[in-house]
Amino acid sequence: MSLLSLNNVSVAYDKNVILKDFNLNVEKGELLSLLGPSGCGKTTTLRLIAGFLQASGGQFIFDGKDYSQVPINKRHFGFVFQNYALFPHLSIFENVAFGLRQRKVDRKEIEKRVKHMLEVVSLSGFEKRFPAELSGGQRQRVAIARALVIKPDLLLFDEPLSNLDANLRVTMRVEIRRIQQELGITTVYVSHDQEECFSISDKVAILNKGVIEQLDQPKTIYKYPKTEFVARFIGFNNFIQCRQREEHETHLTFFTEQEKFEVQKNAGTTSTRALKLAIRPDNIVIEKCRTGSGGTPGHRDNTLTGQVKISTFLGRSYQYEVDTSLGTFQVNREMEMPFSTGDRVILIFPKEKLVLVD
């Protein structure tokens, strides 16, 4: 059984429905990320788990017990806020000790545990300072230490790195993952940064408008997005709507009005009856059209002829917008001799790079 389950949970602010019949399961010891654009309900879900807001319906089960009515201070969850929420009038030591003092832990034990936790987040020697005297990264580490020192049953992160600069973000996320694994604390992590989520999570749930579009291991999501939303979110910018499909032993064949696409069977193609294909701009091969103007449609499977509409230099590669009979495609390519606007080109869609989405 899962450590944490949200069953058919609903949340609404006034008349704004944020979550409806929402379900989520988190296993013991894992780090699960909730990823999605702003307004998708990820923070609401986290605050619901923390107890900062009440669900209007559904059930929240934690460790086999119904937690729906358990007040915040009895949940024993650690929460790390986006803005750190350190107590400005308390020293770093007192900030970290706060949770232990509420639990009436004995004085010597508090001293020992706070010291140890500050070591874990590499902030030894900062005990007497105040939050205002620390940098953003240091404050964030105090916030993490404060949440961890109570040995919480569950750790909750609300976009903890979004106020830090890029380099620090990378260092901190490695730290967070290290500490989480070292202590084996079940963690729910909210972010809108996909690289961050993918790099630290055991599982990622991609949310859209209060619904989980896909919950999988980061690798699986990255390779085989299940829905168009997820595909778009992680950079599959090209879609082909087909009308018909045929199943063969090693591959599937899809038909549009005039074109034919072969797709290799893989982990992502087995379960779905979808008729939509998606591909990343990096995975489309672009070549000069040799047949001159026009080009016969359907002369080869998995290809389209088109005309370069926009050519943009991105530094490492060139990005082209190519008009074809099936719409505009985005292609990224590293090349010595770039195409220019108006060039006739052939787009090749490798069959192992095409994925199926709903």
Binding site: A50, N73, F81, L86, H89
Partner: protein, 273 residues
């Protein structure tokens, strides 16, 4: 160059303050320390030996202290509520809270006389409801004085508190709760200490204001003497400017002592405030 311009711009205000405040103040204070051409502390000693004056002094301090405490108790929940509101409603409520400041102290005092008088609205109401059998004496008592003063100075306390409370994020309370603190503990250990700077500013304004207020105690206090009324009588009725100067100097000293004491208390309660 830049600095000299800054000093130049400061000059008019500085001169005004020096000639119309600092110099007269020095004259007042020095005049109390000189008797028949000699330095002397006798004037003060005489005052502090005078039972009547001591009584007035304590009376004044008591009224000011109660007024300040009442203002804190009334303002705290109101300010907390207002500080959590969003823009429009907040603007309206702050406007309402400040409104008493915009009416004259005399008009307000007369209103309270109408309400609190022997045949006033309050007594009439209570008699009709058979809660009391004969009119109670509120007007011309310390109670009336305190009611008037609380009404007068409440806005200052509310505004001071809203100022600090606005900066206390809800996240802090939630953080405290998630660490195991009850609502009450979160308030006691987080919200309250963070309110101390506003509380100190508000308390100084209200306390010093009550200490030096003249109109309200004079109109609502009746025979109950406070120090400002006593000063007025010495200067205007008895024409004893020496005594009046001594009283004024004592009032200034008390003000400084109170401010110093409040700041000390603030530092103890909230070291980072």
């Amino acid at each position: 160059m830049k600095k000299s311009i800054a000093y130049l711009l400061m000059l008019p205000g500085l001169l005004f303050l020096v000639f119309f405040m600092v110099v007269p103040l020095l004259f007042t204070v020095s005049s109390t320390l000189v008797q028949q051409g000699h330095f002397s502390f006798d004037g003060y000693l005489a005052f502090f030996k005078d039972q009547y004056f001591i009584e007035i002094l304590f009376n004044t301090l008591k009224v000011s202290l109660i007024t300040t405490l009442m203002c804190i108790f009334i303002s705290f929940p109101a300010a907390y509520y207002i500080s959590k509101l969003r823009t429009r409603k907040k603007t309206i409520l702050i406007g309402l809270a400040v409104f008493p400041l915009l009416t004259s102290a005399i008009v307000r005092s007369f209103s309270w006389m109408i309400i609190l008088g022997k045949k006033g609205i309050l007594n009439t109401l209570l008699l009709h409801l058979h809660i009391i059998n004969e009119p109670i004496n509120i007007l011309y008592t310390p109670t009336a004085m305190i009611i008037g003063l609380v009404h007068l100075f409440l806005p200052l306390m509310i505004i001071s508190l809203i100022g600090v409370m606005e900066n206390i994020s809800d996240d802090l309370v939630q953080a405290a709760e998630s660490l195991g603190a009850s609502r009450f503990t979160a308030f006691r250990k987080i919200v309250f200490p963070l309110c101390i700077p506003g509380l100190v500013v508000g308390s100084i304004l209200v306390f010093v204001g009550s200490l030096t207020a003249y109109t309200t105690p004079a109109l609502l206090g009746g025979k109950q003497q406070v120090i400002s009324v006593f000063l007025y009588q010495n200067a205007m009725t008895l024409n004893d400017w020496y005594a009046a100067s001594i009283i004024a100097t004592i009032m200034i000293a008390i003000t400084f002592i109170v401010i110093g004491f409040m700041n000390l208390a603030a530092r103890k309660l909230n070291p980072k405030g």
